[in-house]
Symmetry: C2
């Protein structure tokens, strides 16, 4: 056991003694109870300030049974996507006086459960994003008795609130848009294997392929993992295809940009020789060349809504029916898909 460099720190007792009142009175002062005499009030406040007293939140939590903290458990913290989610969460949490305990558990299973139980007693509720989570693990671990909001989770867990993106609709719309430009052979660069968002985007693509009677070869489905590098590699593979597609839909913008770069290296013109579209509409999308057609989803809003839901649940005395909400997406047409807009 490592030694703890514990500094002697001012407690409520010290302030009470110094101000010649009881701890109860000091407590009242700091909880803005208005049943404190004006003179006593200032005496306590003076003492507290002089001694540098700050209430110990941990102790307070214990007795009030509220931590004013929201647990956030994400599969990863890498990249703009998660950063935006956290920002959305932090923003509305902060506005309503809540703090964030952030953690990431890459995989389901043991570390995931550990992260989850580590939240017990430190959070009032949980925002949980686990695109890889099967409902079995979930049921086993998620019974700690506090409200939970799920993000981008596979359906099947209907016992608590959940929020997701209209992946299917967005992917279907953008694929149909490519078809409307005359493309019949459209490749898709897939998202990470096992990821729910990725699977839904694929499903949307496939729906469009069926509806528009597009080429449906298996070789048009190129694996990827959401990274720029995997988009670059996927483009490489597309170039080597016998029947080269005339358009590519990447499951996110990073991969689309990686692919763009590879196509340019190969001397292809985008969109003339090959059209490209992405998903997410990250800020960078409008600044690459040609500007990237994409499906816009306001990710920080996802975090905001999740937080709002959770806080509502926290302030709701009676448990309600769980709500499942899907955030809409919008198609953003730019130059990379060949439709002649900026």
């Amino acid at each position: 056991m490592p030694a703890v460099p514990q500094v002697r720190v001012v407690t409520i007792k010290d302030v009470a003694r110094s101000a010649r009142v009881s701890v109860a009175t000091v407590s009242r002062v700091f909880n803005s109870s208005n049943l404190v005499n004006g003179e006593t009030l200032t005496r306590v406040q003076d003492a507290a300030r002089r001694m540098g007293y700050v209430p110990h939140v941990g102790a307070r939590n214990l007795v009030t049974r509220r931590t004013h903290t929201i647990g956030v458990l994400l599969p990863d913290l890498y990249g703009e996507f998660f950063s935006e989610i956290i920002r959305g969460i932090d923003q509305t949490a902060h506005r309503r006086g809540y703090h964030l305990l952030v953690s990431s558990a890459r995989e389901a299973g043991e570390p995931f459960e550990a992260a989850l139980s580590a939240m017990r007693g430190r959070v009032d509720g949980l925002i949980l994003m686990s695109p890889y989570l099967d409902s079995e693990t979930f049921r086993r671990t998620l019974t700690h008795g506090y409200p939970v909001v799920l993000l981008s989770c596979a359906p099947g867990v209907t016992s608590c609130d959940s929020l997701s993106i209209a992946n299917y609709e967005g992917a279907r719309a953008i694929t149909r848009h490519l078809a409307a430009q005359g493309h019949r052979r459209i490749a898709m660069i897939l998202g990470a294997a096992g990821n729910y968002d990725a699977a839904e985007r694929l499903r949307g693509y496939q729906a469009a392929v069926a509806e528009e009677a597009l080429a449906g070869d298996a070789e048009l489905l190129i694996p990827g993992d959401f990274s720029e590098a995997s988009g670059h590699a996927a483009a490489e593979r597309i170039l080597s295809l016998a029947g080269r597609p005339t358009a590519v839909f990447a499951a996110n913008d990073c991969m689309a940009i990686g692919a763009l770069s590879r196509f340019r290296e190969a001397g292809l013109r985008v969109p003339e020789d090959i059209a490209i579209a992405g998903f997410d509409d990250i800020p960078m999308a409008r600044y690459v060349h040609p500007a990237l057609t994409s499906v816009s989803v306001d990710i920080s809003v996802l975090g905001e809504r999740a937080t709002a839901r959770l806080l509502d649940a926290l302030h709701q005395p009676a448990p309600r029916e769980p709500v499942h909400e899907t955030l809409p997406t919008t198609l953003v047409v730019r130059r990379s898909c060949g439709a002649q807009r900026t």
Copy 2:
């Protein structure tokens, strides 16, 4: 006061009663003390599992005076930069059994202090990034008695560990590199006003300007705020300059990419008509066209080192001399600056 949807939750007492032992014994079981009888051990474990008991960390923290939590206070949570820092912190914290309490306080002053004191009693130490922080605010608020590591802070606060990036050296090197390509009129797109990193990058640029006897007109200093949009706007302004520079150094890659996009709109060729270089070497930098010359800083390492430092301090019984470390940067030459490499 909102009602609390408190679920009756299993405590150590319940387990003790059910296993017909004292709470002390249950506690021992959960703290892997080996002075528990084998038979008692399993009886307690069974009872705990059956009742779904999870120790209450908050209560434990109170008595052990350790939370195993690190507070992270950032000026903002937007963008790849912060996301990478958090990831670096989370990674090493997680590995060493620590959790993260993340918060953002955009400005110095009251909300900043509030965020700081809200950490009292919930964290063992603090990682604080405040590029806008003056040491005065700092001294007033940062005396809660736990270890602190500062990130990207202006010097002047020498009382605790600090970490920063070699902004000056990196900016100087890249500017000199541009000069070595023959450029004499090099504009700089500045970072956010009042930001320490931004100021240092400017200082590095100015040093190079002086050393290489480059053009030093004030009009070559274009304001920016680190966003793509501000880079785009800055490029606009550069285009309108009477004596147009032949090269541009942007204080970060996002602005460089925004500028790149604007120059292309204007029909300029990069790097032939105008060279560009950025700072940070974000993943996207190699995938834009032309690939962006930049100064590479491993941001997640910044977070890692900060965490390592903090944890060391936490496990160190005696207070040591504060350490100030600067993370090196490396020049990454790609096509955008006109040096003929990929």
